[in-house]
């Protein structure tokens, strides 16, 4: 096993999957000649040629819209959106077509495309390089959504997404693109969608998160004077509801952490599931620790916006004291 960063793991997955299946192709802005602005697609153009790693015009709806047509021609396009907030122009195609086209053909055609992008804040970047847009994706019927938090999952989940017969959106935590390293299996490595990862076992309290908030929860777990479980959701749709309910049944105390703005964030969905299905297990309120319902701030004060270890610890204490 090699020790890779998250972005290296993404790159590894792409190399393996393009080599494995010659209908897989990568497309996006600057993915070819430059190998991606984060170098997630480095080496692909040289190895597989400019048609399998294609530098598109600067047009996100055009990228995703052409990808729909490419699927109809038998390709499996992996579309890169350069940054989270620059994926918004593709929402129209995603909602009106990507999530509906198979259904519209009575299940006769498949649209095995992937949309992947770096997401999230904390990187001292100018405006609109910091969003956590998962709600827009996960609320959309017909698409699946996954957000890995470790290098191994970054590789395995992307591979699963590429092999999945349905459209999958994968958000990659750019804050940890280069800073978080870990063992990654070499060669083919697939982490099936729909299964959560128990990042840490505990008895007293469950912290639920995904993507860049998992390390925050792990650090908070260290600080809390209790036995804390950390559940990495990693696949938002399909969701591993059993893992969520199981952990809630065990600890009876749950805080959910998400970087996105609060209202209708995915933490709300998880809390609603608990309010319906775990009400007798809960020994305390379900708390959400989230980004705020404001635009992601300029970077000098972004640390105040991002759910911090201190905020998660505070929520944990509230639950433990309840």
């Amino acid at each position: 096993m090699a020790e890779l960063s998250i972005v290296e793991a993404v790159n590894d997955a792409l190399h393996v999957e393009l080599a494995r299946d010659d209908s897989v192709m990568v497309m996006g802005e600057d993915v070819g000649r430059a190998g991606g602005v984060f170098r997630a697609t480095a080496g692909l153009r040289d190895r597989f040629g400019p048609n399998r790693c294609f530098d598109t015009p600067l047009a996100e709806a055009g990228i995703l819209g052409s990808a729909v047509g490419l699927c109809m021609a038998g390709w499996r396009p992996v579309c890169e959106m350069q940054y989270d907030a620059f994926s918004y122009p593709c929402l129209d195609q995603l909602i009106t077509h990507v999530g509906r086209y198979r259904w519209r053909t009575g299940g006769n055609m498949e649209f095995p495309l992937v949309v992947r992008m770096p997401y999230g804040g904390g990187v001292r970047a100018p405006e609109l390089h910091d969003d956590s847009p998962e709600t827009y994706y996960v609320h959309t019927p017909g698409v699946k959504v996954a957000i890995p938090s470790t290098p191994a999952d970054a590789k395995g989940i992307l591979a699963a997404a590429i092999r999945d017969p349905d459209p999958v959106v994968v958000l990659e935590p750019k804050l940890h693109y280069r800073t978080l390293k870990g063992e990654v299996p070499e060669g083919e490595h697939v982490v099936p969608l729909g299964r959560a990862r128990l990042a840490r076992e505990g008895e007293d309290l469950t912290l639920v998160a995904y993507g860049s908030m998992v390390p925050v929860c792990e650090a908070a777990a260290e600080e809390l004077d209790a036995s804390v479980e950390v559940l990495d959701i990693r696949s938002l749709k399909p969701l591993d509801e059993d893992a969520l309910l199981g952990s809630a049944a065990k600890t009876g105390r749950v805080a959910i952490v998400q970087e996105a703005p609060r209202v209708c964030g995915f933490a709300a969905e998880l809390a609603a599931i608990l309010a319906e299905k775990a009400i007798l297990d809960l020994q305390a309120p379900v708390l959400r620790v989230t980004g705020y319902d404001v635009p992601y701030p300029y970077w000098q004060i972004e640390d105040a916006y991002m759910p911090s270890v201190a905020r998660v610890v505070d929520a944990g204490r509230k639950l433990l004291d309840f």
């Binding site: 819209g65 047509g69 021609a73 195609q93 086209y101 198979r102 006769n108 498949e110 999945d164 399909p238």
Partner: protein
């Protein structure tokens, strides 16, 4: 001072006036092909006129009328081979008929019944695109993707004058141009987008003037002249197959019917102009041409019309004979591999429906 230079200002025409002056012979299609084209026109016309009646009778839902658009649809499709892909908008809902799709399928689509959903690969006809212009990038992607696979397939996307204002049109056209995709961008310029006239849609002297901005040829034809449409599309297909990339075709016509069954154009349209357009509608024009050329006569015309009417009668009967759709279909087809919640949702709903 810079100039605005038109692409091809004069409308291309093949069919002359009612008195025969100006008729031009086409290289290529023989008598049989000319008659096949007529059959297609009549089939579409019959589909359209019957559908309006069916709507009034409450047998289909809201319906987007394509009366006087038949020449654009049939003329363009006849220039294609069966392997070539068609991307229709709601205005070309029945274009699959020209590829052997049963009328019942299209009627079912307008009846909101699941048997109206077809497999695009069965006819090389994509699903009807309801949101304006969003299928243009699909067509670009398909054409490009087929080319990448070494296939000789060409694609055509139909859209309206209003559609040219959408970002999706622009992005799709540019993608196709940049990838040299074998795509025909076929603009049905009927000069209205519901109640919005062309002059409020664009300041361009001609929609074909947009082509230069994508570095592709822009062609203008009379959209009620089925042979002009056919000829221009044939040339575009040839360019596409030769690897020369996309062509933008602007087919000029006039919407001489309501936008859809729900629309009342009297509030905004010039009724005199509508009358003029109805007088020179496209099926009659072509019929005149064929008669002048001695290819069509009353009896044959009558039998072609009868065939079309019979097909429609059988079509609506078949559509109405469909058993009503099963509500379990609500949960089908969105995913190959659906989240398990869809199953439990259906179990619960079944229990409640009893």
């Amino acid at each position: 001072m810079a100039q605005v230079v038109p692409a091809e200002r004069d409308l291309r025409r093949v069919i002359g006036d009612a008195d025969g002056s100006g008729d031009r012979a086409l290289d290529g299609p023989g008598e049989q092909e000319l008659l096949d084209l007529y059959r297609s026109l009549v089939l579409l016309r019959t589909y359209d006129e019957r559908s309006v009646v069916y709507h009034r009778q409450g047998r289909i839902g809201t319906y987007a009328i394509f009366w006087n658009h038949e020449a654009m649809q049939a003329g363009a499709v006849h220039a294609l081979e069966d392997d070539d892909w068609i991307f229709p908008s709601y205005r070309e809902s029945a274009i699959g008929l020209l590829r052997g799709m049963p009328p019942a399928t299209v009627l079912s689509w307008w009846r909101g019944h699941p048997v109206g959903w077809w497999n695009p690969a069965d006819y090389n006809v994509a699903s009807i695109c309801v949101p304006i212009a969003t299928h243009v990038p699909h067509a670009a992607g398909l054409a490009w993707g087929k080319k990448l696979r070494g296939e000789r397939t060409v694609a055509i996307a139909f859209f309206g004058d209003g559609a040219t204002s959408e970002g999706s049109f622009h992005e799709g056209a540019n993608f196709a141009a940049v990838t040299d995709a074998p795509l025909i961008l076929f603009c049905n310029n009927n000069q209205w987008a519901i109640s919005t006239p062309l002059s409020a849609q664009t300041r361009a002297a001609a929609l074909a003037d947009k082509a230069a901005g994508y570095g592709i040829p822009g062609v203008r034809v009379d959209g009620t002249d089925v042979l002009a449409v056919y000829e221009a599309t044939c040339e575009a297909v040839e360019r596409a197959r030769a690897g020369e990339g996309p062509t933008f075709i602007e087919a000029l016509s006039y919407r001489a019917a309501p936008h859809a069954t729900a629309d009342d154009p009297r509030a905004y349209i010039d009724l005199e102009r509508v009358e003029e357009e109805r007088a020179r509608e496209c099926v009659g024009r072509y019929e005149g041409y064929l008669r002048r050329a001695g290819i069509l006569h009353d009896e044959l015309a009558e039998s072609i019309r009868r065939d079309a009417t019979d097909a429609m009668r059988a079509g609506i009967a078949a559509a109405e004979a469909e058993p009503s759709a099963d509500p379990s279909l609500v949960f089908e087809h969105a995913y190959v591999d659906p989240p398990t919640t869809l199953r439990s949702d259906w179990e619960e709903l079944k229990r409640i429906l009893g």
